[in-house]
């Protein structure tokens, strides 16, 4: 077998390291962010929750009217093959895989879809990475959600998320609790983080925002709801206010590569810590799910 790569970038059939990969300036990602993406963690050559991520990828693409020109099985096989080419021996077999599809390249800049022959381009990056401690904690800031109304689609229009993330970083925090002003009867309705979903526990019930156009249908969120059901923890997918979130017994963020992280501070003040037992059962079960799913290729 040929030597493994330190990392891998794939663009439309071409393979190189991430540092070396070049892409055509005419790819519509360069002018319009015209594409959708996915990202998740990997271990032992297994892409965690691959089927869920593939389903969401095709769903996102469909919602922006981008026809992916290959079957789900072919994409899964390609991603798994690309992952196998990267050396994860120094990161305990763990890594990250990211992929995106953009509408076209090689056509003049024009808002409307290209008409003739231009086909979507697949991008993949694989990076070795040791999983950070899944039992670490996070600090949040509250932040007004000024994003578009298609947050259910995992598009590349992430500049507002970049600005929100940087605001958290500037405040010495890890993530934002974004809220919509005057939304669904709430002065400030919690939506999601800049790159995670938000949840909380109150009186033993797990609360998370409902699936609509204001949040991404997170795979970790879906897993958490299943785990709560398995653990006989009641769940409510309902809108809630920033005050409700702030006063909850426990606050959590989740994502595919961060699992379920306990929130200790919101806007500099301590929050949560009132139901550590339930929180631990949930986050331990999610981490165990990952370990089991990725035990062996």
């Amino acid at each position: 077998m040929s030597e493994k790569m330190k990392n891998l970038a794939y663009y439309d059939g071409k393979i190189a390291t991430i540092e070396e990969m070049q892409i055509p300036m005419t790819d519509r990602v360069c002018w319009f962010a015209d594409g959708v993406y996915e990202a998740t963690c990997t271990r032992n050559g297994v892409i965690y929750c691959l089927d869920d991520h593939i389903d969401r990828f095709y769903s996102s693409a469909s919602m922006i009217r981008l026809d992916i020109p290959f079957k789900k099985d072919a994409l899964k096989a390609l991603l798994t093959d690309l992952l196998s080419r990267v050396d994860t021996s120094e990161t305990g077999g763990e890594g990250l895989i990211y992929w995106q599809i953009t509408r076209a390249a090689g056509v003049p800049r024009n808002h409307i879809f290209p008409k003739n022959g231009a086909k979507p381009n697949l991008w993949v990056i694989v990076t070795p990475r040791s999983l950070p401690d899944p039992f670490r904690t996070a600090k949040l800031i509250s932040y007004e959600d000024i994003r578009y109304y298609i947050c259910n689609i995992k598009t590349l229009c992430l500049l507002p998320n970049v600005l929100a993330s940087q605001a958290a970083e500037d405040a010495g925090a890890d993530e934002c609790a974004q809220y919509r002003v005057n939304c669904d009867g709430f002065d400030r309705r919690v939506t999601e983080g800049a790159h995670t979903n938000l949840h909380c526990l109150k009186d033993g019930t797990f609360y998370t925002a409902p699936l609509d156009n204001l949040i991404l249908p997170g795979i970790a969120r879906k897993n958490l709801l299943r785990i709560c059901s398995d653990l006989a923890i009641e769940t409510k997918e309902v809108p809630f206010s920033l005050d409700f979130f702030r006063d909850a017994d426990e606050l959590m963020i989740s994502s595919s590569s961060n699992f379920c992280i306990r929130v200790t501070h919101l806007d500099g003040a301590p929050v949560g810590g009132k139901d550590p037992g339930t929180l631990d059962r949930i986050r331990t079960a999610l981490y165990a799910d990952y370990l089991k799913a990725t035990a062996q290729a």
Copy 2:
């Protein structure tokens, strides 16, 4: 003098044709649409309204906390030099110039701003293009505005604009009249097009949406307001409803490379046509402004 190019692409000091230019996959435009842009028309080696576009470019960059690492004069000189390298002899001396700046390249994908040494990258494209007939007409469709609340910043997060433009194209129209639902007391408040500003005439007064976070501060819009003042036409920068717009005496779209275009249809029905004299004075004056400003390099 060396032979002129058929078109030109510039990226971070590198020059090639648009078709040949490659950019690093690590440019943050590829993951986050993390940048801002400008575009305008050119003639006789002159970039139309360059100072205005440069000012807005720096303003957009500032609002996304991107520090442009060179002075306005240096950028103006570079753009003018790059324009001079392109052959516009077959397009009556006319062309388009587009430029953007992205936050960084060569750093791992991470929402927060790169910390050490990563610098913004300038992109430019120059294309010969004969100006389309400035006295042509346009058809619009009404379209719900679902964009983010920083539409005053000319960012690369244009996928919603792409989808809106394609919806217009699918309907056999040229542009959208975007409206916000339940906004400022209006059921449907007109904002702007997918790539133009919107205006109308009613009882001899020129109406356009006020400058706020819902619309781009268009340079053509600014020129139109100045021209109306010169022509003693009253102007009102106020919110208005889709019904007000539909029933106006004349409806117009404007942009830097399209000037002021008369709208003849909205959602398939004829509109405007009730004050052609005022409309003609305005659009003729704007086109004359372009001809005068670009008469000679």
